[in-house]
Structure formats: structure tokens, C-alpha cells
């Protein structure tokens, strides 16, 4: 059995290595025919002088190839700007289509074979590694031996490498998708299988890898928690919703010429729901599109309050949601890394509510824009940067003086993150790939209402939820996004805090303050704080994963739905007749 496991690990690592290696394994050759077939006729004339230098030259790596294409477009645009021919500027992104068409070699010749080696091989390897645990890891029960000695689980070198790889991967996906053309091509056969007319893109690749991770790591979760039926049912649920609702159904809808739609996603997590193009797409797709639009609105207007009232926000966050799904499966090995300090809690409240407000304002402006309104203003960006940074520094110094013993981590972090946010935006505005996400021009911010949407999409949608939200699993735990950023979690949390039957009850006086519950709470809730004083845990951030209850060695915690009047009670520890209410 041990041998099976080791071989499984080796097979998995080989597949994974092959996958990484594929990034480098192909060649790109742009030909005149490809150019003619992919570039719009009116652009051909403009671009040909620049691009013809590349014709029939073969590149062994995507990066210089893509850079050259982008440089060609940039040069042409630069010239057009100089000549003030604003209407001729090329906005189309040719790097993706040209790179894909120009790719050749191993990845194109043997796509299926490579697909099988990477994904089927990877699955077999992973399962050979996971399944023997049923026997090897001893009888069913909590399996946390050695977590804090492990280089993956405790920010050791494996964890740091994994985190770095994830961050790089997310940056590629969001901003340099053409660089990873080989991977996009790798999953093309699967795309064709689902939808013969479709074309693989970085988003299909992402969706597939995501689902793959949820399913394979979900199986690991099922094995690990096979003694807890709550965990098994919940894990099966997130696996199902990811596979069916997030991955297959939308693809099938597209095949049936219907709009792409994820029935379980909702505003404000789905921040482009109210984008003009999205509303148009749905409302112009006939009955089913209208239904989707109505469904999407009903879900957050009626669905959230109703379900959260009966079950707490867990019905979504740890049973249905895709972000939650990844966190609960692939993220499980990292749950103990979430920060439990009070300061972290304060930062969390600031950030998540900040994002929520930002999201609501952004949506308001998008709708305002949709219905024809607009406003614009421009400000000198360097003045803004100086003011924000000065305020941040001042605020931190003031706080340090006022509360010397509490430390100033909290205010420094908050002030620092605002300052960082603004500085980052300005820096990004100088880097060409990011230019389109930060609507600044020269030394001024020229803001129009729709630009808020662009900034939100870039800062929150891409950087926060993706790069940091998932990339930082191995550093800050598996719910970085859900805890600090998700606007939907903030909304679900309001309802859970103020109008719900859900609570975690503590069992009389049985707590021994051991700390397992707090350690393994992925949301960084200091569960023990409540348990050891005999107080129900009613926290807006609790996603109801039930792990605190599972790891408690004294059977103290239970996720329950009950009468609202019994939710907020005085702390009470049973067993001591000297004292009635204790703290």
C-alpha cells in the first residue's frame, strides 16, 4: 500500500512536471496565410509592415513571440496617436488568436496524448496517493498528525513554492494569457468534445483546472473525513455544484446556442452581472435569457435572505459556491494558516465591508451608465498619491501614540493597504499591459462612471479574488478571499448575523480550551474564545464548514438551526452551582 502511494506521488509529480514543461514545448511560426486569416482586413495594411518581419521565423518560446506581436501593435498605435488618428487605433487583442494559429510542434501534433498523460495520468497518480489512506492512515478519525511539521502545510519550502506557482499562474491567466497558449491548446480536445464549435481559451483552461482540483481534492476530503457525514455530504455538494453548475452546464448552454450562465453564481460576487454587455446578452437571448436574468436577481434578493435565515450562510459558502468549493477541497491542507488574532478580525471587517461598499457603488454607477447617465472628472494623480500616503502615515503615527499597547498593526495595515492600493493603481497605469485596467492618462485620472467598473474588475475581480485569494492559500489559509474580500460573503454575513436561526452551540462546560477549533477554523474565528465561556458562536464570517465541530476532542461544538430567541444568550458554563452566569 505504501508502495502504491509512493508510485502515485511519483506519477502525479511526473504529470505535473509534464504540464509545467509543456509551457516550453512547442514552436510558433507566423505565416502570411495565418496573418491574412486572423487579422481584420482594415488592420492588415497597418500591421503588415511591422509583422511581416516575423513571417516564417520560428520561435521556440511563446513569450518573445507574443511580445513581438504586441510590440507591433503598440508601434502602430503609437504612430496613430502621434498622427492623432484616434479612430484608427487598434483595440483588438491579436496576441491570442495569432499565437494559437501559429503554434506547432508537439503540443499540436499530440494534443490528445498529452492531455491523457497530464490529466488522466495526474488523476490516477493523485488517486493512488489519496485512496490508500483509507487503510494506511488508520481507522477513520481526525487526521492532523504532523500538519505543523509539514513543509506544505506550514509555510515550508513546498508551501512557498506552491504559493508562488499559483500567484504566477493567476497573473498569467489574467494578464498574459497568450504566453500560456500551450496549456490552452492542451485542453482544446475536451472543449471540442463538449462543444465542437467552441474554441478553448484561458477561461476554459481555468475552469477545467479549477474543476479538476475541486474534484480530485474533494475525493481526498471525502477520504479524510469519512467519519463525519456532515463533511462528506457537504464536500459532495461543492463537488457537484462545481462540476455541473459552474463547468458543464454553462458549456452545454453555449453549445445549444444559449447564453453562458452559471446558475449558482450571483451578484455581487458575480460583479459583471449588471454590466451592459451582460444584460444585453441575456435580454436579447429570448425567454431563457430573460429567465436567467430574473433568476440571477431572485437568487440574491429572495434566495439569500430565505436560505440564510433557515441555515446560515453555509448553504452557499460551504455547500454551493465555487470559491468556497475550491477552499474546502484544494484549500483544506491550508486551513490552519488563517490568522486568529483580534487584529486580523478588525482588518477583515474593514476590508470585506470596504469591498462590499465599493462593489455596490460600482454596480450603481454601471447601471447609471447603462441607463444613459455618465459623469467624468479628472484629477492630478500625483497629488492624490501624496495626499493618501501622507494621511496613511499620519493616521498610523497617531494610532501608535494613542494605543501603544495594542500595537498598531491594525491601523497600519488598513492605512497601508489603502495607500498601497492607490500607489499600485498608479504604478499599474504606467505599465503597458495593465493600462487598459487603470483609466489614467498622462498625469491625470480621467474618471468616468464606467471606469469604476474597470478598476473594480482589475483590483478586486482579478488581483484580490484570484492572485491573492487563491495564490495566498499556502501563506494565509484557504479563505483569504472569502474572509477579507468577497462582497457576497459580506452580504450573506449581514443576514447571518442579524436574521438567522443558525448558530454554533457549545456543550455546557465541556470545553478544555485546547484550541483545536480555533486553529482549524479557516475563517480565523477564535472559536475557543466563545466555547470556553459557554457562549453561542454567532459570527457573520462563519461559513459553517463544521470543521471546528469535527476537530473538537471533547464534543463541544455543534452547528445548529434553532429558535432565534435562543441565539444570543449570556455565556453560561454548566456544572458550577456557585456561579450562575459566568464570563
Amino acid at each position: 500500500m505504501k508502495l502504491v502511494r509512493t508510485s502515485g506521488l511519483i506519477i502525479f509529480l511526473l504529470s505535473f512536471g509534464l504540464f509545467l514543461g509543456l509551457f516550453f514545448m512547442s514552436e510558433y511560426k507566423l505565416t502570411e496565410e495565418i496573418f491574412a486569416s486572423k487579422v481584420k482586413p482594415n488592420h492588415q495594411e497597418l500591421l503588415k509592415p511591422e509583422m511581416s518581419k516575423m513571417f516564417d521565423k520560428s520561435y521556440s518560446l511563446s513569450i518573445p513571440f507574443v511580445n513581438q506581436i504586441n510590440a507591433a501593435v503598440d508601434n502602430v498605435n503609437g504612430q496613430l496617436r502621434a498622427e492623432q488618428k484616434w479612430n484608427d487605433i487598434i483595440w483588438d487583442d491579436y496576441s491570442g488568436s495569432l499565437t494559437k494559429a501559429s503554434a506547432g510542434g508537439l503540443i499540436v501534433d499530440s494534443t490528445w496524448l498529452l492531455f491523457v498523460l497530464v490529466f488522466i495520468g495526474g488523476t490516477i497518480g493523485a488517486l493512488m496517493f489519496i485512496l490508500p489512506q483509507v487503510q494506511l492512515a488508520g481507522p477513520a478519525g481526525i487526521k492532523h498528525n504532523g500538519i505543523f511539521f509539514n513543509a506544505l502545510n506550514n509555510r515550508g519550502w513546498v508551501g512557498i513554492s506552491a504559493g508562488t506557482l499559483l500567484v504566477v499562474f493567476y497573473i498569467l491567466i489574467y494578464f498574459y494569457d497568450a504566453y500560456m497558449m500551450n496549456w490552452i491548446i492542451l485542453v482544446e480536445p475536451l472543449k471540442k468534445l463538449i462543444n465542437p464549435a467552441g474554441e478553448s481559451s484561458q477561461w476554459f483552461l481555468y475552469g477545467f483546472l479549477y474543476t479538476f482540483a475541486v474534484v480530485v481534492m474533494g475525493i481526498r476530503m471525502l477520504v479524510k473525513y469519512r467519519h463525519s457525514k456532515y463533511q462528506m455530504v457537504r464536500t459532495a455538494s461543492v463537488m457537484f455544484f462545481q462540476l455541473a453548475f459552474a463547468f458543464l452546464i454553462p458549456e452545454i448552454l453555449v453549445r445549444l446556442n444559449q447564453p453562458y450562465f452559471d446558475f449558482k453564481n450571483m451578484w455581487p460576487l458575480d460583479y459583471d452581472f449588471f454590466d451592459a454587455w451582460h444584460i444585453d446578452m441575456l435580454t436579447k437571448s429570448g425567454g431563457i435569457g430573460i429567465f436567467m436574468f430574473a433568476w440571477g436577481i431572485t437568487l440574491f434578493v429572495v434566495g439569500v435572505p430565505t436560505f440564510v435565515f433557515f441555515f446560515g450562510k453555509r448553504w452557499y459558502c460551504s455547500w454551493v459556491c465555487g470559491c468556497g468549493g475550491l477552499a474546502e477541497t484544494a484549500g483544506d491542507p491550508f486551513r490552519q494558516l488563517s490568522d486568529k488574532s483580534t487584529e486580523a478580525w478588525q482588518i477583515e471587517r474593514f476590508l470585506i465591508h470596504g469591498v462590499f461598499v465599493f462593489g455596490v457603488i460600482m454596480t450603481g454607477l454601471v447601471l447609471y451608465n447603462f441607463f444613459g447617465g455618465d459623469f467624468g472628472f479628472s484629477l492630478n494623480k500625483w497629488i492624490i498619491v501624496s495626499v493618501v500616503v501622507a494621511t496613511a502615515v499620519g493616521l498610523s503615527l497617531w494610532h501608535m501614540k494613542k494605543y501603544p499597547d495594542m500595537g498598531s498593526k491594525k491601523v497600519m495595515t488598513v492605512a497601508g493597504s489603502i495607500a498601497g492600493f492607490v500607489v499600485l493603481a498608479v504604478v499599474f497605469s504606467e505599465v503597458s499591459v495593465f493600462k487598459k485596467y487603470i483609466p489614467v492618462d498622462g498625469s491625470n485620472f480621467n474618471f468616468y462612471s464606467y471606469d469604476v467598473r474597470t478598476v473594480y474588475g482589475f483590483m478586486i475581480g482579478s488581483l484580490f479574488s484570484g492572485v491573492i485569494g487563491t495564490g495566498f492559500y499556502p501563506f494565509m489559509g484557504n479563505r483569504v478571499w472569502c474572509r477579507f474580500g468577497c462582497p457576497l460573503a459580506a452580504y450573506l454575513g449581514f443576514v447571518q448575523r442579524f436574521k438567522s436561526k443558525f448558530r454554533i452551540t457549545t456543550n455546557g462546560g465541556q470545553c478544555i480550551s485546547c484550541g483545536n477549533c480555533s486553529t482549524y477554523c479557516e475563517m480565523g474565528i477564535d472559536v475557543r474564545w466563545y466555547a470556553q465561556r459557554g457562549q453561542n458562536i454567532v459570527r457573520s464570517s462563519c461559513v459553517g464548514c463544521g470543521v471546528c465541530s469535527a476537530v473538537c476532542p471533547r464534543g463541544v461544538l455543534n452547528l445548529e438551526n434553532g429558535d432565534e430567541s435562543t441565539r444570543f444568550t449570556d455565556p453560561i458554563l454548566i456544572g458550577n452551582d456557585s456561579i450562575k452566569v459566568t464570563e
Partner: protein, 443 residues
């Protein structure tokens, strides 16, 4: 404003300090030589097993103490001078107090076995013991644990978690049989075997054998068998840690003798937690109860007293809990290892042999006296009420569902238990029922 000094930063000392702070503004100093901050002793095993780091076992963040103006001092107290109310520390310093709380906890027992002081032989009580274990159990081939109590089984689990084979010597004929009834003991025996623990029942330790460097190399059992090992965990129970207080006017028997207000025989000196021995315990309690909960409850009462609201220590219904590898155990009320003359029992065991419920009741009145539950979580509040109100066995069995504390979707054993009851007590039928999942979800 008095200066209240507390020796011991365990659950008893810390609860006292927190209660005093909550109700008054006396100056508080908490002293311990073990660690700077309060940590959960019950979680020591999890540090060794890699489930947590030491940091995770601290119930309060470090700023908590400054914020609540509880001064901490890390030092060993060598001597207490009651006449001039002074403490002497091991480094030569001293400290004045107005009121003194002794919450010095326990120490591991040693029974004078030959070789008990060799290198690689140690009990498990303190943080230092844990460090010792960490240091001396690297790359070893076998560990022997002596003494079949709760700390013994934890130590066995600790070694097991690091793939160190464990031989577990238990003097009783079944695991923890001096406390648990036979059925429950046997259930745990089986579970230990399932985890490949080399459990030796009815086996005593005769001698610990040294190698040429003064390190343990083997042990010899009562039957003369020699077992090679490189670490020996000694866990034959604990006793009050009061040696440094002996030979003074303080009244010490096994522990520091206290009255119901946790006062010792010396004015302004109090004791709480493991080190205290209650002079006249209530009928359902023992004089020394070395468990977490008692330290906490004593601290709650004493803290109030010291803030000016004189409060007697009155423990309610006994309860306790533990976990044996994967099997959780809870108990409410009194279940002895043998039935008393007036007692009867109901016992049910699940088919897998890993869950069971035992309820002891009074034969004449049929009132329940106590329950042991293994593998099924039960609600403390409900059992506390049932026991206080003297509910009958019949009532309890019929309403067992009310006491269930297992997570949602877990199999409910109430119907099985009720059927078993109807089988064992043909004159006392209860109706077999369980709430459906839907009923429970929308409760």
C-alpha cells in the same frame, strides 16, 4: 487595593485572576516558573502530534494580560513566608503579598521503580516534560508507556502519531478499569489494538534497565519479560504539587486542605485547582479532583470571593470527557466501575463496537444516577437537568433525542437504543421514534 499574588498560571490561577479583574481593581500578579503565558495543558499532546503549535494552545492573546492589568512573572517560588507575607524566588528575589492564592497544580507520580530517573524516562505534565519528550524521542524504535490512565493513553497516541511503536503497560485487567466499567474498558482495549498499540493488560513494570550511558535501553515487566525501548513514559497518575510548601504551618494532607471558601488554615492564603484538597467534599464529589473543569470552577468561586463577594465553592453534577484515539467519551453524573448494591444499569453497544451508552440508575426509584457515552455526543445541559431533577430511566430513554449533540446528518442511534431498552426491560416499554432529518433541519 490589595496586592493579590497567585502562584500558578494554570486554569485555576488564571480563572481566579480574570474573575478578580472582572469584579474589582485589586493589583494582581500571576507567577509561574513553567511558561510566561497561560496555555492549555490539555493540549500538550497536540503540540507533539503536530496538530498545533505552542502558540495555538494559548487561550488568550499576549496583549490580553497588559490590557486587563494582570501582571505576569515568570519565576519559581522557593518558599512562602506567611508571617511577613513574603514570597522568596529561586533567583533570590522576593515579593510581598496581601492575599495569596496557591494554584500550583499537580506533579507526576513516581513509585520508586528501579531506573525511574534514567535518561529517556519521564512523565507528562509540564511544558518542560513535552520538550524533554521531543528531544529524547527522535529516531527511537520503541516507546513504553506505563500506567493506563488518561495521560497514558494520550502519550501512547503521541508516539503513535510519529510512527513510533508503543508498548502500553496497564496494571488493571482492562484499560482504565479502576474508573470505567468492564464493557467500556473493553471497547477501548479493542480500539487500542485496532491502532496497533501493543497493549499489555494486567502487566506491571518491575524495572527500567540502563545502557552504558545511563540511558534507558529496556524495561522488565512483572513476569520477567524484557522489552527493548528508548523512551519510557511514566503515567501512573498525578498528585498535588505541594512539596515546596511542606514543612510550614500550612495544613497539607495529600493536597492543601481548604474549606468550602477555598481558604487554607492560614488567613489570606487560599488554594484552588489540582493542588487543593477539599476538607469536606459534597457527597457526590471527591476531595481532590485533578481535572480542568474543577480548576476552572474553583477559580470562578475564588475570584468572586477575592473581589469581595464571598462565594462558596459548590460544584454541581459531576461531568468529564476524554478522547481515546478516535473515540470520544463523555460522562455525566456518577458511573463507577462496579455497580453499587442499589444500582441497576442499561447498556447498549453499536454493532461496530465503537459506540456505547451506559446509564446507571437507582433500582428502587428508577431515577438515573449517571451516564457514560462513547462515540455519541450528548448535551451537557440536558443531562445536567435530568440528573438534577431525578428523571427516571424510562423518561431518559424515551427522550434521548433531546440529549443528542452529534452533528447534522450523523446517524441517530436513538431508535436502536430504545429497542435495546425495550428488550432489556420488558415491563418498561418506550415508543421507538426518531425525528426525521427534515424535522431536525427545520427545528
Amino acid at each position: 487595593m490589595d496586592h493579590i499574588v497567585i502562584i500558578g498560571n494554570g486554569i485555576a490561577g488564571i480563572t481566579t485572576a480574570r474573575q478578580i479583574r472582572k469584579h474589582s481593581d485589586h493589583k494582581i500578579t500571576v507567577i509561574s516558573g513553567e511558561t510566561e503565558h497561560f496555555f492549555s495543558r490539555t493540549a500538550l499532546m497536540y503540540i507533539y502530534m503536530g496538530h498545533m503549535k505552542y502558540e495555538n494552545t494559548k487561550p488568550y492573546e499576549d496583549w490580553f494580560w497588559t490590557k486587563n492589568k494582570i501582571d505576569l512573572k515568570k519565576a519559581w517560588v522557593k518558599k512562602v513566608n506567611y508571617s511577613n507575607k513574603t514570597l522568596e524566588f529561586e533567583g533570590g528575589e522576593s515579593m510581598q503579598y496581601d492575599k495569596l492564592v496557591l494554584a500550583t497544580g499537580s506533579k507526576s507520580n513516581k513509585f520508586g521503580w528501579p531506573g525511574q530517573d534514567l535518561e529517556g524516562v519521564r512523565g507528562l505534565y509540564s511544558y518542560q516534560d513535552l520538550e524533554y519528550m521531543e528531544k529524547h524521542s527522535k529516531d527511537i524504535d520503541r516507546a513504553v508507556v506505563v500506567g493506563g490512565g488518561l495521560i497514558g493513553v494520550e502519550m501512547a497516541e503521541m508516539f503513535h502519531s510519529r510512527n513510533i511503536p508503543v508498548t502500553f503497560l496497564v496494571r488493571e485487567t482492562n484499560f482504565w478499569n479502576n474508573i470505567l466499567p468492564e464493557e467500556e474498558s473493553k471497547l477501548i482495549n479493542r480500539h487500542l489494538f485496532e491502532h496497533h498499540i501493543d497493549l499489555r493488560l494486567a502487566t506491571e513494570l518491575k524495572e527500567i534497565v540502563s545502557d552504558e550511558n545511563g540511558r534507558v535501553k529496556s524495561i522488565i515487566t512483572g513476569t520477567g519479560e524484557e522489552i527493548a525501548c528508548q523512551f519510557v513514559g511514566l503515567t501512573p497518575g498525578v498528585s498535588p504539587n505541594v512539596d515546596f510548601l511542606k514543612e510550614s504551618e500550612l495544613n497539607i494532607e495529600r493536597g492543601i486542605v481548604v474549606n468550602e471558601y477555598l481558604e487554607t488554615n492560614i488567613p489570606d492564603v487560599y488554594a484552588a485547582g489540582d493542588c487543593a484538597q477539599v476538607a469536606e467534599p459534597l457527597s457526590h464529589r471527591r476531595a481532590i479532583e485533578a481535572v480542568w473543569y474543577v480548576g476552572r470552577m474553583m477559580g470562578e468561586a475564588l475570584g468572586k470571593t477575592l473581589s469581595g463577594q464571598k462565594t462558596a465553592y459548590k460544584p454541581g453534577i459531576w461531568f468529564n470527557s476524554a478522547k481515546f484515539f478516535d473515540i470520544e467519551y463523555q460522562t455525566y453524573g456518577l458511573v463507577g466501575n462496579k455497580l453499587q448494591d442499589n444500582e441497576g444499569q442499561f447498556y447498549w453497544e453499536a454493532e461496530d463496537g465503537k459506540k456505547c451508552v451506559k446509564i446507571v440508575f437507582d433500582q428502587a426509584s428508577k431515577k438515573v444516577i449517571g451516564v457514560n457515552t462513547f462515540g455519541i455526543r450528548m448535551r451537557h445541559e440536558v443531562w445536567d437537568k435530568w440528573l438534577k431533577e431525578g428523571k427516571t430511566l424510562n423518561h431518559v430513554i424515551a427522550n434521548l433525542d433531546e440529549a443528542n449533540f452529534d452533528p447534522e446528518f450523523f446517524k441517530r442511534y436513538d431508535p436502536e437504543i430504545q429497542k435495546a431498552y425495550n428488550g432489556q426491560f420488558p415491563d418498561e416499554q418506550v415508543s421507538v421514534r426518531s425525528r426525521s432529518l427534515l424535522e431536525r433541519i427545520f427545528s
